[in-house]
């Protein structure tokens, strides 16, 4: 086995965020929320957003998941705070495109998110990485049905 390939999936940044997820827990003054469900494993997460004047003031998530899905949610909530709703939507589009093999450009200040891209080599794990992002999209579009990665 090539240890290096596995290390590419489970990078230190991913392991760190999965062990100590940022923004973990309920957001009591949330204005938007959405659930994400990964039908493959049944893992669920709930995403909370506090949006004020078109800007994401704060965000958090709760739920259970694998290292990839927890790290993805943690990195995402880190990244989107302070963003306008429009920027967050375009960030959703760019990240999900890149995780599924696309070539969209990631802004320099978001390059941390590239740590998630190890999943591109693992088709069954892409959904773990995109789950939080689909929940973000659902929350921003006020979609009441739980987001899935299907």
């Amino acid at each position: 086995m090539s240890h290096a390939e596995l290390r590419d999936l489970y990078r230190e940044l991913i392991l760190d965020h999965s062990r100590k997820p940022r923004h973990f827990g309920r957001l009591n003054d949330a204005t938007h929320k959405a659930d994400g469900i990964n039908p493959l494993c049944g893992d669920k997460l709930r995403l909370y957003l506090k949006i004020d004047s078109g800007r994401i003031e704060s965000s958090s998530f709760e739920g259970t998941g694998c290292a990839i899905s927890v790290a993805s949610a943690s990195l995402m909530t880190d990244a989107i705070e302070g963003m306008s709703v429009e920027s967050a939507e375009s960030c959703f589009a760019v990240v999900t495109d890149r995780l599924t093999g696309g070539a969209s450009q990631l802004d320099v200040e978001l390059e941390k998110l590239a740590a998630l891209e190890g999943v591109r080599e693992y088709p069954s794990r892409v959904k773990c990485a995109t789950l939080a992002w689909h929940a973000l999209h659902a929350a921003l579009t006020d979609n009441p049905t739980p987001a899935t990665t299907e």
Binding site: E5, L6, R7, Y10, L15, C41, G42, I68, Y122
Partner: protein
């Protein structure tokens, strides 16, 4: 460990019969420990299906021409092999289905639905696969009947006394797995059948995980229905069997209409075909069933008792080796267990572990194993499950252990 060298040699020989096992995954020789999800097929099954497709294929039970005759002989010949394999008393008791799930749905809709009334009940256990839960939920919803669930204990064994307490004069059927797919628990089905017979309650056994590992004799068990799948017993997917006692099958109406299940059709009156064809509407999975017949021949050449003995020893080796891995938590430690060990390692999510093991060429199942109530009972969202077949050996277990230790390094 007390190796039994003769048997280990045999395993190596059996393994050579399975082409899929002769490959590398991520640069490592494949260690396949997911046979409880679907077993690999021996060369003879693959070749039998191919030969049938090349030379003998036509529709069954219809034509007078040579190929139709050959196809019918091969298909019905496989039914006879299945009868012999589980020791049913007559070929009319072997209904060919697309798998265990369809077989159980057939019983739910054809046996239970016309009989069930509001206030009646069906009894199952907490250990069941979704295939032995949801068909009963559906028929209970349709009829206003109650679904009762016998609890399990910390070891993952059904509390048989509590199951018996749930059976009363309004119980129409008891459904229980022979071997739990998620935990490997072997249920005392003979006892359950004996108890239920005394109360005139029919018993359906979900044998999907029983047939690949145990020497099954439905007459000795005494059950009324026994359902199993071809792909778990080294045959093609989309094949399966419902064994039903003839007296019960006779009373049951067809559950799907179409060709092959009729004797005579007019718009005024349709006369149904005899058993088992009454339950086999439409052109069946002929090539798959022919392949399943080849699988039965193959298994009988080795001998199911020999397979059961070998696997029992290998299972005990697996349990003893896994127990020594640091951070190991077993889910399911029944006193009587077959071929499966479910576990969690430290707090590593099962899917992360599955990916890391796959990277080392080791295939296991991760997640809820279509048994979410079992997961809920143990308070976990999923487990890792290593499951054995007779083509596995001690080297496979050793590779699993090494791979788990590597996972601990990465997540350490």
């Amino acid at each position: 460990m007390n190796a039994a060298p003769a048997r280990v040699t045999q395993a190596a020989d059996w393994r050579l019969d399975f082409p899929a096992l002769r490959q590398s995954v991520h640069g490592q020789p494949l260690v396949y420990l997911d046979s409880a999800a679907s077993a690999q097929q021996p060369e003879v099954v693959i070749e039998t299906v191919a030969a049938y497709q090349r030379e003998d294929h036509a529709n069954v039970h219809r034509g007078v021409h040579t190929l139709s005759h050959r196809a019918t002989e091969a298909y019905e010949g496989a039914r006879d092999k299945m009868r012999d394999f589980i020791n049913a008393s007559a070929r009319s008791e072997i209904v060919l289905t697309k798998g265990t799930t369809e077989a159980i749905n057939l019983v739910a809709q054809s046996f239970c639905r016309p009989r069930l009334q509001a206030g009646d009940n069906i009894v199952i256990t907490h250990l069941e696969h979704h295939a032995n839960i949801v068909p009963w939920q559906l028929v209970c919803e349709q009829t206003g009947a109650e679904l009762r669930v016998a609890p399990i204990n910390d070891r993952g064994e059904v509390s048989i006394d509590e199951l018996y307490e749930l059976v009363d004069e309004r119980t129409l059927l008891v459904g229980i797995s022979h071997v739990s797919n998620a935990l490997g628990t072997v249920n005392p089905v003979e006892e359950v059948v004996a108890f239920c017979k005394g109360r005139n309650v029919p018993v359906l056994i979900d044998g999907a995980q029983g047939v690949p590992h145990l020497d099954i004799d439905v007459q000795a068990i005494g059950c009324d229905f026994y359902a199993f799948s071809g792909h778990k017993m080294f045959g093609p997917t989309g094949t399966g069997v419902l064994f039903g006692r003839e007296a019960l099958l006779e009373e049951m109406p067809p559950w799907q209409g179409g060709g092959d299940m009729i004797l005579e059709v007019s718009f005024e009156n349709t006369i149904y075909n005899e058993l088992p064809y009454k339950f086999e509407a439409g052109t069946p999975n002929i090539s798959g069933v022919v392949g399943l017949g080849a699988s039965v021949d193959y298994l009988q050449r080795i001998g199911m008792q020999r397979i059961a003995d070998y696997e029992h020893e290998l299972h005990d080796y697996m349990v003893s080796q896994l127990r020594d891995v640091d951070g190991m938590r077993f889910i399911g430690e029944a006193a009587n267990k077959a071929s499966v060990q479910s576990f969690l390692l430290d707090d590593i999510h099962s899917h992360d572990l599955g990916t890391i093991l796959d990277h080392q060429g080791v295939a296991i199942r991760t997640g809820h194993h279509c048994a979410m109530p079992v997961m809920q009972w143990f308070g976990v969202s999923g487990t890792c499950r290593a499951s054995l077949a007779f083509y596995n050996n001690r080297d496979d277990i050793d590779r699993l252990v090494i791979a788990l230790e590597k996972a601990r390094e990465i997540f350490g």
